[in-house]
Symmetry: C2
Subunit: 322 residues, 2 copies
């Protein structure tokens, strides 16, 4: 099973999900968000991980769908909390409908994720349920830290790394671990694949931060510098704030207060990043986590040829331009 | 086991729940809401129902706690959606903290409810999980209907009954059914106890609507007429709108537009209710559902003496003044 096959299986199964017809305003936003073009990388990772151990991955489908529905639930609530009005080029749910709809449909979506999960075979249910709830709670913790960072200018690099681990990486780790569980992998391999996901997730998020500033606008599909304009605490900004000398730090903090002049702000902050070499430092971190991921995968007790698809995927995620 | 014993067991177990310390702003609101004095009738019903079939109810504790945490999650999100700033005499979570905290802590609380549920014995887990998710989704549907009713003046009595069934009654039904499941009751008894909860829940909600207008202010603990002031679509209002002749209906709708003069509004609308005898009609409905509940309980295949506690509880709920 290659990545495209996993993706196409997942995409078909998501399209097959039937929601209750009534009340329409509760379930339409759920279908709206899930029908958007997204990477769908998380459920694909579950299937690919299961496939390391088992030819037939159909038992991993409920948990794979549960992760994708859960991930989209977090997008619905996070967009509302973060005032993000655009999601994948379309209006986000609280914008297309209203705040209350985003709250309540999000709640319904989290419940629907658990409903999918409960379709898993009884042999795995308890383990999957514990992994799911633990991961879901950690992701809420990560979002809470991220929101608190918005009010702080003294976030340390370790705090940032811990936040992205919770907000982004544990989901990738858990997607992979759940595939390993359904694949009847032993607990050592389950943990190694969880670690692969964690490391890859951290590298992925740092890459995201770098692309926002240094990406190719046409390939990235977003405006370059969006994070700078809204003072988002990214790896680059935190690294810059921590490494800048007094004068440069004051200049950076002065730009943070500028809310008109977005073009000039992006230019000036990028120039500071360039002077402080934070892009190279970010790439260094990213490489380090990429190699940690690769080493975890190497230790998994299956033949090397089976690992090629996950190795290739990791490489692609790290070298992506969008 | 009598009601007080069930309540005291539940109260102790809720007080024993330990939340993660960090991030404090995520978990403090959860602990804040659960520590408020509430009726805690739902988890008590789970234990009492289990006790119909089994002397030792300890296996029902995880699911009983899951219901109470879930119920409080709905309060956290509903208070935000309904702009209700006071909960049990104290500021509600979105007021004490802010909207984003109420959204995210609520999400964490729903996940914590599932975590409690997952502590149930494996023999019951799948059944309890399905019942829990189905019920939780129905309650979201009920809240959605309730919010839609706020924008409508043509709600029919059947629609109202269906809304309160979803928003209030299925939770009581499911609390009881889960106790029966853990009590190893056969499926007929499980369904009878579910029906008991449904009927009791409907009677309970109509009683709530009546008490808001006709209750004893000191015993009720809320301001009398609060529902009238904010035009809440209660059984009384819907019945009055449906039964009033043209002239009286116009008068009622005119008062609905009044937002100053709360005292006068309460007086005038209550007078219309009195003329239309909607209080008696509400009490009639309530009695009907009360007796439906009692008859469902009678059919349950356990000895009559065991049913006394639930019979007494039903009677008390219906005759309560607060």
């Amino acid at each position: 099973m290659n990545f495209e096959e996993a993706l196409s299986l997942v995409t078909g199964k998501i399209a097959d999900i039937r929601y209750p017809k009534q009340p329409a305003r509760l379930y339409e936003p759920v279908a709206y968000l899930l029908a958007m073009k997204g990477k769908k990388i998380r459920p694909a990772l579950t299937l690919l991980t299961c496939h390391l151990f088992k030819e037939d991955v159909h038992e991993a489908i409920p948990v794979a769908l549960a992760w994708e529905i859960f991930h989209n639930f977090t997008l619905m609530h996070d967009d509302l909390m973060d005032n993000a009005d655009i999601r994948r080029g379309q209006p986000s749910v609280h914008k297309k409908w209203n705040d209350n709809t985003a709250i309540l449909s999000g709640d319904a979506m989290l419940i629907l994720a658990y409903k999918q999960l409960a379709r898993s075979s009884g042999a795995y249910l308890k383990k999957l349920l514990d992994l799911f709830s633990t991961t879901a709670a950690e992701i809420c913790e990560g979002q809470e830290c991220d929101m608190q960072f918005e009010e702080r200018w003294d976030v340390r690099e370790e705090e940032y790394m811990d936040m992205i681990r919770l907000k982004t990486s544990v989901l990738l780790g858990a997607c992979m671990k759940s595939g390993a569980i359904v694949g009847d992998a032993d607990s050592k391999d389950q943990d190694l694949l969880y670690d692969f996901g964690i490391h890859l997730g951290i590298a992925f998020q740092i890459q995201d931060d770098v692309l926002d500033v240094y990406g190719d606008a046409s390939a990235f599909g977003k405006t370059i510098g969006g994070d700078i304009v809204c003072n988002k605490k990214t790896y680059l900004l935190i690294k810059a704030l921590n490494e800048a000398e007094d004068k440069e730090k004051r200049e950076l903090l002065r730009w943070m207060k500028v809310s008109d002049l977005p073009e000039k702000k992006i230019q000036a902050v990028t120039a500071i990043y360039d002077r402080l070499l934070v892009k190279d430092k970010a790439r260094g971190q990213m490489e380090e986590y990429y190699w940690k991921a690769i080493r975890s995968l190497e230790e998994v007790n299956v033949s090397d040829d089976k690992k090629l698809v996950l190795q290739a995927l990791a490489k692609e995620l790290i070298h992506r331009q969008s």
